[in-house]
Each structure stands twice: as C-alpha cells, then as structure tokens.
C-alpha cells in the first residue's frame, strides 16, 4: 500500500479538526479490518490515516431502560455480541453480531467502521435497521442524527459527509414482546459474506401483527428496509398466505446482482424462502 502519516487524536474535537484539515486525503481508522484490505489492494490510498482508538469513551456500550442502547462507534463487534445488556434486551442484535465473519474479525472490527464502509454484503446493518437504529454524525461544527436506513445510499456509499465522524449508534428500547429472527445464508463457508441476509422483528399478540420490521443485506446496492413487504403484514392477522405474500413482495422489492455467489434470480428466490422462514421463527419466539 502507499505510504501515509498515522495520526492519533486524543479527543473527538481534535479528530474532527484533523479530518477537516486533511479533507480527501484522510481516512479514519478504527479496527482497520476493512480499511486495511482496501489499502492493501490500493483501492483506497489515503495520505493520512486518523486513528480514533485513543478517543476516550469511543467504544463504550451504554444502556438504560428508557433511552435504550447507545453503542460507541469504536465498539468491537465482539463486545456488542457479548455485552450483557445486548444478550438480555436485544437478542436479535446478539444473534446478528454473533454471525459477523468470525471471532478474530469480531475482535478487531468496529461497528462504526462497518457502517461507514457501506458494504451491502455485511451483516450488522440489517439487524440494526430492524431495531430502528439511528446514527450520530459529528463534525467540527456540530452534529446530526439520522435513521440508519437513510445512512446507506449505494455500494460503499453512505451519507457520511466530508469532515464527519460517526460516533454513536442509538437503538431505542425495544417493544415488550418482540419476535425476531436473523438468517444468514451462505452457499459454502459460514465465514463468507451472506448471499442473502434477513433480519426481521414482529410485535403483536394472538396472531395479530401490530408492527413489523424487515431488513435485508446482500440483495441490493445497499442494506435496505423492505417497507413494501412490511406493509403486507402490518396490522393484519398473520396467516401462512400473508407470510408467503410478504416473501414474494420482498423478492420483488430487492435488486440483487448476478455474481459468483448466485444469480439475481436465485437470490430473489432465496429472499422469498428465507423471509418465510424468518417469519416462522419470529412467530415462534413471539408466542413463547
């Protein structure tokens, strides 16, 4: 990879100022697992690499009963997977993060790094969107908060503006009774990127769906929330027929590519099958 200068700001303010000063020439590094690979392949050639590892509280995971979960962008996938509050209150996230790559990557890769990369093949985004996550973006002059589903724009493109650093992911306190499911389909190795990833949550009682969230990865240029598919089930009595329809609508709503993990046609088929299976799992969890 090309030569670069390595800077280690001690505060968020300092990091934002450095980023503003160096503009296009700089990239932020947290865990570095994705950034390093791109730099090694010379797909990204920053002259300045700004590490956020020394910023205090950048990888904290905090929780309270009303506000919900606040995850510092520097938190490792492994820390999120294993956090007691996640295991207790956010089972869908625990399941999602458990499946990210494998332990060695989860020990190093951060959630902030993952989200900012905007890679539609990766796992965390769908689970977080299904839990109504929002992200905080800070720059030298201020900050803004954005729903995660609006943060992903296109292949490796997010709404991160020049000079901004993603600092926190906020996941609201979940509904009292929530059915959930996360399915990651890989054709060969379980350590691979998903050919199709599905995250689904359901709330309701007595066979009636009050609300639903369906998020999918690897089947469109960005990780997306399948709102049209959701509307099939929302507010309705849950029947096998409606679940099947939700799967069919989701299969039409996605926009997969032909690649060596599968043809677009096959991926649409998988979306249909897996959304159906996810709904089944979520219903079981809702009932129990």
């Amino acid at each position: 990879m090309v030569k670069f200068d390595y800077l280690e700001p001690k505060s968020l303010q300092e990091a934002c100022e450095l980023l503003e000063r160096h503009g296009d020439e700089a990239k932020v590094i947290a865990g570095g697992t994705a950034l390093l690979i791109w730099m090694r392949m010379r797909l990204l050639n920053p002259r300045v690499v700004i590490s956020v590892e020394k910023i205090p509280a950048f990888n904290d995971i905090r929780y309270d009963d009303r506000d919900g979960l606040r995850i510092g962008a520097g938190a490792r996938h492994r820390d999120i997977e294993r956090a007691a509050v996640v295991r207790q209150h956010y089972l869908l996230l625990h399941e999602t993060f458990r499946k990210v790559a494998q332990p060695r990557i989860r020990n190093m890769g951060t959630i902030g790094g993952n989200l900012c990369q905007g890679d539609p093949l990766t796992d965390p985004g769908a689970g977080l969107i299904a839990m109504d996550a929002e992200v905080t973006l800070v720059h030298a002059g201020g900050k803004r908060v954005l729903p995660l589903e609006e943060f992903f724009v296109d292949y490796y493109q997010t709404d991160l503006r020049p000079g901004e650093i993603l600092t926190e992911i906020h996941v609201p306190y979940p509904a009292k009774r929530l059915g959930w499911s996360h399915i990651k389909f890989t054709p060969r190795s379980q350590e691979d990127f998903a050919t199709v990833g599905v995250a689904l949550t359901l709330s309701g009682r007595d066979g009636h769906c009050e609300d639903v969230r369906l998020a999918l990865n690897s089947v469109a240029p960005r990780i997306l929330r399948a709102r049209q598919a959701e509307s099939v089930l929302r507010g309705q009595r849950i029947t096998d027929g409606l679940v099947r329809e939700m799967g069919e609508v989701a299969a039409r709503e996605v926009d997969p590519m032909d690649d060596n993990r599968g043809s677009a046609e096959y991926k649409r088929e998988l979306v249909q099958v897996l959304v159906g299976r996810a709904a089944g799992e979520a219903l079981q969890r809702l009932a129990s």
């Binding site: 030569k3 390093l36 690979i37 730099m39 590892e53 060695r104 990557i105």
Partner: protein
C-alpha cells in the same frame, strides 16, 4: 514519517521505529524476528497470522504495527516455557494435529483462546472456535482431536 512502537511480545518489551504502512505480521516476522506467525492470504481470511493481542484473538495481517503501540502480544513462540511444550502444543504433536505446519501456529493460538474461554468444549464448540483458521492439508479431523486432548491435558494440569 516513522512511528515509534513500544510493544510487549511474549513478555519482552520491544521498541522499534516503523513505517505506518508496515503490517503487524511483517513487524513480527522481520522486525522482531519471530517467524512463527505466518502469512497465507494477507487479507485476513485464512488465520495463519493469528496472534493474541491484549488477550483477544486477532489477525496480525489486519493491523498496522503502529496500532499495537502500548499493548501486549502473545505469539506461538511464547507458549513453550524453557523448552517444555505447552500442553496444547504437546497435544498437537501427539494427536498428529498438523501436516505441513503452516496453519499450525494460528491453530494453536485459536485453540489456546478457545480453551481459555471454554475449558470443556464439545466437538461443535471446537469447530466453531477454529472456523477462522483454514487448513488445506488435514481435513481438520486430527486437529479437532488434538484440541480435545489439549483440553484434557489442561484440566489434569490444574
């Protein structure tokens, strides 16, 4: 512009000047001279470069040397004490848990990390714990046996 890296490796403190773009794997192999950490893919897929950083299992090819300033590393060379093999290493020898040996340092550290977290793993747990370490020679069967034997060795050592 070079960075100074002060890092403890296998209990010994090293201080070196490095180019920021130097990967940790190369730092260990060439800078420090510990060639047990191997490079199989250089993009974090194969696990041959696995080491333990501040008690966590990580891939050294996905870290810049500069990122480990002030931290502590364990490589495979740090396991045997005074020429006596660590029980995990001994288990790999006895159970024939290797063929060409290239994946072995990474496998052993992955086993070390697994057994620290779960001293009594079932076969499934072992396979999950080693899933990030590829081996092209063995088909994994004798590696799994070695980890089972290692678990036994470690338990009887207490």
């Amino acid at each position: 512009m070079k960075q100074t890296v002060r890092v403890k490796i296998n209990g010994r403190l090293y201080e070196e000047e490095v180019e920021p773009r130097l990967l940790l794997s190369y730092f260990l192999r060439e800078g420090v001279g510990l060639t047990g950490t191997h490079i199989g893919c250089v993009i974090g897929e194969c696990g041959a470069c696995t080491i333990i950083l501040d008690g966590r299992l990580v891939k050294s090819c996905l870290l810049f040397a500069a990122q480990v300033d002030g931290r502590e590393i364990l490589t495979v060379e740090g396991l045997a004490a005074d020429g006596t093999l660590h029980p995990i290493q001994e288990a790999f020898v006895q159970c024939y848990g290797l063929q060409c040996g290239y994946c072995t340092p990474g496998m052993i550290l992955a086993a070390y990390y697994l057994l620290k977290k779960n001293p009594d793993p079932a076969e499934d747990d072992i396979r999950k714990g080693l899933a990030g370490n590829l081996c092209m020679c063995t088909g994994y069967v004798q590696i799994v046996e070695a980890v089972k034997a290692a678990a036994k060795n470690l338990k009887s050592r207490i």
